[in-house]
Subunit: 149 residues, 6 copies
């Protein structure tokens, strides 16, 4: 954990989803001084593919990944799946097992390593609630996926 | 996500592991005004059972759970396993598949719901790095487990 | 296994699903002398969420859990998921991978430990058949989930 | 569940592990009138391979499978793995995640289907406790694996 | 790997899916000298149950398994599930997590062991592409399931 | 599957492990006309970390990945894990559940897509046997992992 004193790309992504609940614009302003590129958004679903799709769409619209390159889509997709495993903890399923999520997501792209030859990496952070499809019957959940791009 | 404007027990636990890297005492001071009880610690291992054990031991020593009650051990154990799934993303294994972790952990206990009949809950947050057993060949990882107690 | 000579809450739940096939009323009569509260029912589906839903609905209608408390819903939900893992053995999926179940379920609530400070626990037992969606192309399956409540 | 009124091979195996706690000989006597062949035994371990090994060894010693035929070993092995998934509910791991089991097992071989062309099948049933490696900090667990042989 | 110099049933099935891309008839011709029985086909889906169903249907239509015997359906089903795990690598899901497959499949039945008492076995091989539901955003994938029958 | 008529990087890797059993040098000769770089090797173990380690070591020694770049180690590691999931079909475990593997592996690096902007990719193919730790009690198994690098 030698990178404790700098801000890792994962920690940066996690703060984006944890810090600003209703103030998306503020988030964009405050964090725009960093070298990382990022986008944030919200998604709620009983359907994991909507979560995947919301994150992919936001990432493309905000030019975090180049839409036409499979290599970038692939990097993002696996980062999303890894983040979803933190959120779902054992079964990457929502409605199929009668649960739903309300999530804030952040996708961050940049060079987190001192050795610049390490190139660009992606972090996908998810934070929100998971639970029964009844308001209030839910608890918090988090996930982080990291991949080279 | 109606609890966005208050601090959920999970978000609180995540901040404990994200905010203070080398300043454990500061963490204890700053956060001690909350109604939540918590402990924080560090653990590094190629062996998941050492991670489980470090968190259980710290939780007992700090009286977050009552050691003699299986019900409390059981609640903590499942919260730890859920947090580990976020960290390991698919296989709850470390050395068996040639990887190691360096983690900061936080265990938080308290009443996160407005309806006090919901009683006490536990949050276990993990943040750190995971990767090859070679310094630097690693990226960040996070996990959160939440359980009623 | 020191509780071998008494009847554990899990064994009690398993007997409820194993003993009485067509005689639900008999089951209710015979077992009503115990200190455990329970309900039993049947569910058949290619859709796991119908299994989850059938068990949750029966548990609420029979006052085994308090419907308005998330803490109790949460305890039941995780016990159901654990029982389903025994039934599905590796993938918590039915129709998605072309199989269906016909299950009898029992939900039992009570104090299984001698130390009464251990409080109440829940057992969810499932027994029935799993197989292709063609009558007879199926074999038996069982699952048990246990949680503190 | 049309076989409700007869005793399926899985239900038979489950009763062997549930009914007789300390009376192995009684079990052998009472159940010996059935057409099924079976063996029962006990195993306690923090090490899944000891569980697998105990069941395989007992099955061979009691001539439930023919030791030299891989086809029979293969059938038994997958039935054991399926039963273990019910016991471990999500991660087929014991000591690696700081837990231990004390299990009674039964292996049953016979022809459970009315159509005798269905031939012989195997059932592996497990029942006992799972929990922390501290006496009493444990709850019940069950598993059933069924395979054609 | 002593069977390296002969052709194992799995290697035979893999060659069927790897060798002939558009020449199904050629495949049938060339390989028909072997002692193995087999069928080959194609399936594309966002829905795993269509993959399972396509393989089962082809196997029955080509008399690789006897449709009325559950024992044979069961052997094939588990071999298919095992092959799918190689294709999906961690989550036996397609459309649920926004991905699709285009697969060639082969089902082979025969006696792969020198000791003829080992009897018949089944191999299910899958090869093709997996990826986003957009043409070209995909990479190759393979799976092999083997079972006694 | 439009790449059917060319040789995909995955198919190329699979052929390396399937085609030449005892003739490693021949393999190197015959395939050296391709644009892909590759290495092949053998590994046998009850310990997955030895499998991971053997593949990583061979890849570094043959300059398939740059040892000092985490980005390349990371790409290879995830490709290995995906290949292992095909081999282990459900639990990435060997000795822990009493089984062992004898595997041939191939690691291939190159540009498999017509669009050269897609850059380099890695394929890890595994083929061999898995089974009980007794000679002959085993069947074939395969795995393929693909990643951008
Ligand atoms: Mg990684
Ligand atoms: Mg929960
Ligand atoms: Mg438990
Ligand atoms: Mg089966
Ligand atoms: Mg097998
Ligand atoms: Mg991929």
């Amino acid at each position: 954990m030698e990178r404790d004193n700098q801000v890792g790309i994962g920690k940066f992504a996690l703060r984006l989803v944890l810090d600003f609940s209703d103030e998306t614009d503020a988030a964009k302003t405050k964090h725009s001084t960093t070298d990382y590129h990022f986008c944030i958004g919200k998604t709620g679903a009983m359907d994991l593919k909507k979560v995947v799709s919301a994150i992919e769409t936001a990432s493309k619209r905000n030019q975090l990944i180049e839409e036409d390159l499979y290599r970038e889509t692939h990097a993002l997709y696996h980062a999303i799946l890894e983040a979803i495993q933190g959120v779902t903890r054992g079964q990457s399923q929502l409605g199929e097992i009668m649960r739903t999520v309300g999530l804030r997501f952040a996708v961050v792209r940049g060079k987190p390593y001192k050795n610049k030859a390490e190139g660009e990496w992606l972090a996908v952070a998810l934070y929100g609630t998971i639970g029964a499809p009844i308001k209030g019957l839910e608890h918090e959940t988090v996930g982080l996926g990291i991949n080279h791009i």
